[in-house]
Amino acid sequence: MPKILTVDIGKCTGCRLCEVVCSAKHERASNPAKARIHIIKLEDDRILVPVVCNHCEEAPCIVVCPTHARFRDERIGRVAVNYDRCIGCKVCMTVCPFGAIAFDWEAKRIISCNLCDGDPTCVKFCATQALQYVEAAAANQRRQREIAIRLHKSLQEFALSINW
């Protein structure tokens, strides 16, 4: 079963190590400007959100790609690029609802997350596990467990707080 990359916004500390290691992996240099993942930060409002390709099932970038360079790679469950076909027209960038596709101004080509061929580097480095790479069927289980425990605790507190 293919795995999916999950993002838990509440756990992100905004350290940007994911950006650094992503670029180091793909570009052999640490350069957030060329990372496939990016953390949007508004520190005053405590907004810390990692933005990365979500590998949409109905991916607009695949739909609009005029040369069919972008395609679904079901083996890894990702949106992939065939660079032999890609003409660098950037239409995929235009339609991506997340802004998750970037243009490498030096190599003159489109860049976006390729899940490191099934072993995402960002996940390996994410100390708080805000980023995880898990089997699709289990993707929501962790969240369910967490919320269940929290619910249970607050219900208990609520019960204790009431003088029956």
Binding site: C15, V20, D44
Partner: protein, 634 residues
Amino acid sequence: MPLTRKIVFVDLSSGKIRKERIPEKLRRLYLGGRGLDIYLLHNYIKPGCDPLSPDNVVTVSGGLLCGSVVPAAGRCHSGAKSPLTNGVGSTNMGGFFSPELTFAGFHHIVFTGKSDKPVYLWVHNGEIEIRDARHLWGKDCFETQRLIREELGDEEIQVMCVGPAAENLVRFANVRTGLKNTGGRSGVGCVWGSKNLKAIAARGTMGVSNRYPQEALEYAQKWQKQVVNTKVAEALGYDGTMFIWNVTNTVGLLRYRNFAFNQLEDWESLAVEKFHEKYHVGVVGCFGCPVHCRHQWRIKEGPLAGLYGEGPEYNTQMCMGGILGITDWETVLHGSHLVDKYGFDMAEFSNIAAWAFELFEKGIINESETGGLKLEWANAGKLLPKLLEMVAYRKGFGDLLAEGPYRALKRLGKPEAEYYLLHIKGLGNMLSDERATPALALGIATSTRGCDHLRSRPAIDLYHLPEKILEEVFDGGPMDSNFTSYVGKAREIWVMERIYALVDSIGTCKFHSIFFSPHMPKFEEYAKMIRYITGMEFTPQELREVGERIYTLERMFNHREASYSRKDDYVPERYFAEAVPGGFPIVKGVRMDREKFDQMLDEYYAFHGWDKDGTPTDETLKKLGLDKEPSHIV
């Protein structure tokens, strides 16, 4: 590669800008960051200059590995001749500024001269521009950053700036970036202010390549595991530095009401648990750091509702709290917020303010000197916000406090007041009481930037680690597990000084060194990482020597600029005269033993290869390649 990052000389008087490559020879000798900064200061400062004159020099730098895959390689250093100590001004902060500076193509900036109007520097992909900052003058540290981002139209710009305190030449003004990150000690911000330098804005998209990309990435992951797997990383991630507060208070290593007591009576109301309960909203990390020791807080109700900020640290608990006898979280947080806005060093402030309170208590000063302020301990909480403002804007009595220890004493002109002011080389003592911990005392006494723990503090000395482990960590013996003993402590300080000099020069965080845990990376690990990223080959022994070189050059700078020698390497008189009033049985009743302290100093100088007066010998200078300094290689 990091080695392609340049150095830029900005002459604020003429507006001339000169970009240079950093010679590899200098990289081998000093790496970068604090190391190369002291080289530049020693070379470019006109000997004997007034710290607030155009002859002083300000350096800003990222360490050798800044912006690279090493976790937490985001420390930024700024140096100058200190307006407090007249010696080494050196200050270090985390955040995201120095990586951005690196991505913009630079590792070092050297400011000389003085601008005739307020300016800020815009550093962008190899380009440098001096821009008008008249509209930013007077703005606080948060607003300045926001306005610059707006003006330049990029939310990703990182700004390092000074606040109103620096503009008003408060001698302990600091430099800041983000909500919290502060280069606090030794008054470097004041020198920025004296040069009419308001800020540096950086943004870049130039990558830092790795000499051995695959190995660098793999080793970075190993390194990260090594760090994250320590217990202290877990504690820091949960409580921040506040995790030690309950412990040090119980042992009796804190300062309550200046120096009246070494524990807080009402410590529970200022404990980290209380902070978590009411104000904590989440944790954030500095650049590339998996430890995330920074806390964000918000006051949700009451008259201060809506106030937010980052921190608080162990330091905040004491500097805005304990030292002034304050044990109320909201007052502490409010104080911390104001200090961050005005931009000055809260440690220096609290030390000198607590001194004034004690003088008032003892009747050495009264309302005629304080301008009507009743400096009573019970009043401290109420007075704090006002006092902070008075210092930042040099209003009334605040003008005296803003001068820092040396000059405040001189201006007050009361010899009997001197005894109560705790400082070493003109830099105020921080939150801890080191009377029962000789290692920590020696560290603050010999620190090159004046009384400060971050030049050498061996916190693991307090852990009662087995002597065998201590011998391993500190490269030899004899050692003593007992932290009140004087045995082996000189060795600890000597080793830690080298490690911190190195860490500050490669630009990683001290919390990723053996500061708090013997399991953290050390010379062997640093050597490997430097090799994988830059290709420069160092043996661990060579790196030890780099640390030694940097520390010795700082010592030489102090010697040249302020004639500091052995007589200035002592803890304040009170440490010898007064016994510790409370705490653990091994702590209570202890005072510093002058004879043993002197022995410790002798030992310490011998380790460094300095003579009995603390001056590096010719032989030592030759061995370290410092005999021809200043050498003007760049």
